[in-house]
């Protein structure tokens, strides 16, 4: 598998799923594509379908309505797929933890590879997170 992941590390294609976030991480992810940060120069690109993607970006707490869909998307993905949790929500649930719509089960069913904490994480932090993933893939 290592030869495959090494090839993968050259240009990562990303599918982004917003699983009940507050929109902010999503905007910062889109911000990465715009001229100030311009992530496409590293070959990182947002794609429209999970079937083209190498990395699944998940933002938000995965509420009870969205969680089965996210799981479905995860199952559709060509393996290996690397799951990145953006923001504090997938990592810890933040302020929503006490709510009735916070799922306890699904978060453990999808295995996250890395988390990028922050509310919202700065674009620089997101770039660093993805670079860490690339380092792992290259190792």
């Amino acid at each position: 598998m290592s030869w495959y992941t090494k090839k993968l590390a050259k240009s990562i294609w990303v599918f982004h799923v917003s699983a009940s976030p507050c929109n902010n991480c999503d905007i910062e992810i889109l911000d990465l594509l715009t001229p100030k940060y311009d992530l496409e120069r590293f070959g990182i690109k947002l794609v429209g379908s999970i079937r083209h993607a190498d990395v699944l970006l998940v933002t938000g707490i995965l509420n009870k309505k969205v969680a089965p869909r996210v799981k479905y998307i995860y199952e559709q993905a060509p393996k290996p797929i690397f799951v990145v949790g953006v923001g504090s929500c997938p990592a810890s649930g933040t302020v929503f933890k006490g709510g009735y719509n916070y799922p306890s089960k699904v978060l453990s069913e999808i295995s996250f590879d890395i988390y990028i904490p922050g509310c919202p994480p700065k674009p620089e932090a997101m770039i660093e997170g993805i670079m860490k993933l690339v380092e792992v893939l290259n190792a």
Binding site: D26, I27, L30, N63, V95, Y100, N101, K122
Partner: protein
């Protein structure tokens, strides 16, 4: 023959998850329906288990774009309960942050609208000009989004006097670019041919659907909480409410771009006021008496409304949120019918829908797939009947 096109909940265009059902006859949209609920996190319930100061951070996370509007409306509601006097400097800072948010939200929409019609140049340019605004937020609050500025009785953080010249310089830069953007929008043949006369929302429809904000103002309905019920420093600054007559997507585009110019004007006046106005920024509130309060604020998308009921403890007994998109999203029922499928997307997106803000209610279905709902009218009538019988 009528067919149904399902869109969503995960589709490559909009960031948020929502599910549209387009009923089409050939190329023409006959009916449109929308299912939401993918973003529901139960804010109102969580808010009722948190103290007032904690709740400010919670309502900030209702929506990442309106992260000043919701806390501001919430603190207005709580201040309505306890009748606290807000220091003038705090009022100015609130207005400054609120208007900066309007600039960044409108620019964000302008960019996304360009992306929706396949004109990515607009997207890249608009978002490039949005960056200096975020930089100003970083100077004021220390974070690009989610500022955590609002407190009951003032603001949590003062604006450093040394940073004002720097911010004025950034505002100059933004204003220059925005003047260019106005000219571009007025001249661009692509935008005109793609947006003019598309998805018209008539004035009576806008009134019937209770549309608010830029959606209403582009349909010749001049409502703006900032002018109608000026709070904070809005009565100390000079600005215009932009109202345009046609109600098509192009007018909604122009309203937003012109509002950015007005917001820059307000920000400049606020910075000028901050130079002279000294004093505290927070009037500490010791106790919140039992009572009811409402708070309104003109968010970038329209009027946001918060209702708080207290019982003298440090938590709200009831907290209700009504976001502007809740009124604006259904207007697509009026504006989308009879237009081609290709125009349906930009028309639904033209109200600047924010599903995170909208989703404040749940539909409960039990194990036997029965919907649990209560007819409020029936309940109300029954209570009247009961009281009459007892009396």
């Amino acid at each position: 023959m009528e067919r149904i096109i399902p869109v969503g909940p995960y589709h490559p265009l909009l960031e948020e998850a929502e599910y549209f059902t387009l009923k089409v006859d050939g190329e023409t949209v006959v009916d449109i329906d929308i299912e939401i609920g993918w973003m529901h996190r139960g804010h109102e319930f969580i808010s009722e288990s948190m103290t007032f100061t904690q709740s400010i951070y919670l309502v900030e996370r209702i929506c990442g774009i309106c992260s000043t509007s919701h806390p501001l409306a919430f603190v207005h509601a709580v201040e309505d309960v306890c009748n606290v006097e807000v220091p003038v400097r705090a009022k100015i800072i609130r207005t400054l942050v609120g208007e900066l948010e309007r600039i960044h939200s409108h620019l964000l929409w302008v960019g996304l609208a360009g992306h929706f019609i396949g004109y990515d140049t607009v997207w890249m340019w608009a978002w490039k000009y949005r960056e200096p605004v975020l930089q100003m937020f970083e100077i004021i609050s220390g974070n690009r989004n989610h500022y955590g500025m609002m407190r009951i009785g003032g603001v949590g953080r003062d604006v450093e006097p040394d940073s004002i010249p720097e911010m004025e310089k950034i505002l100059d830069e933004i204003e220059k670019k925005m003047d260019m953007l106005v000219k571009v929008v007025r001249d661009d043949p692509v935008l005109k041919s793609r947006l003019k006369g598309v998805g018209v929302l008539k004035k009576e429809d806008a009134i019937n659907f209770c549309a608010v904000g830029p959606t209403a103002r582009a349909s010749d309905v001049g409502i703006d909480v900032r002018k109608d019920e000026p709070k904070d420093a809005y009565d100390m600054v000079d600005f215009e409410v932009i109202v345009l007559p046609n109600g098509d997507v192009y007018d909604k585009f122009v309203v937003r771009v012109l509002e950015i110019i007005e917001s820059v004007k307000i920000c400049r006046q606020c910075l000028k006021l901050l130079r002279t106005e000294r004093g505290p920024v927070l009037n500490k509130v010791k106790e919140i008496p039992p009572g009811e309060g409402i708070g309104r604020y003109e968010a970038p998308r329209g009027e946001v409304f918060h209702y708080v009921r207290t019982d003298g403890s440090n938590r709200a007994v009831r907290h209700k949120v009504r976001a502007p998109s809740y009124a604006n999203i259904p207007t697509c029922k009026a504006s989308c019918i009879g237009i081609p499928v290709a125009d349906a997307l930009i028309t639904t997106a033209s109200v600047d829908p924010c599903y995170c803000c909208t989703e404040r209610a749940v539909r409960v279905i039990d194990e036997k797939n029965r919907e649990l709902h209560i007819d409020l009218l029936r309940l109300s009538r029954e209570k009247t009947e009961r009281i009459r019988r007892e009396a």
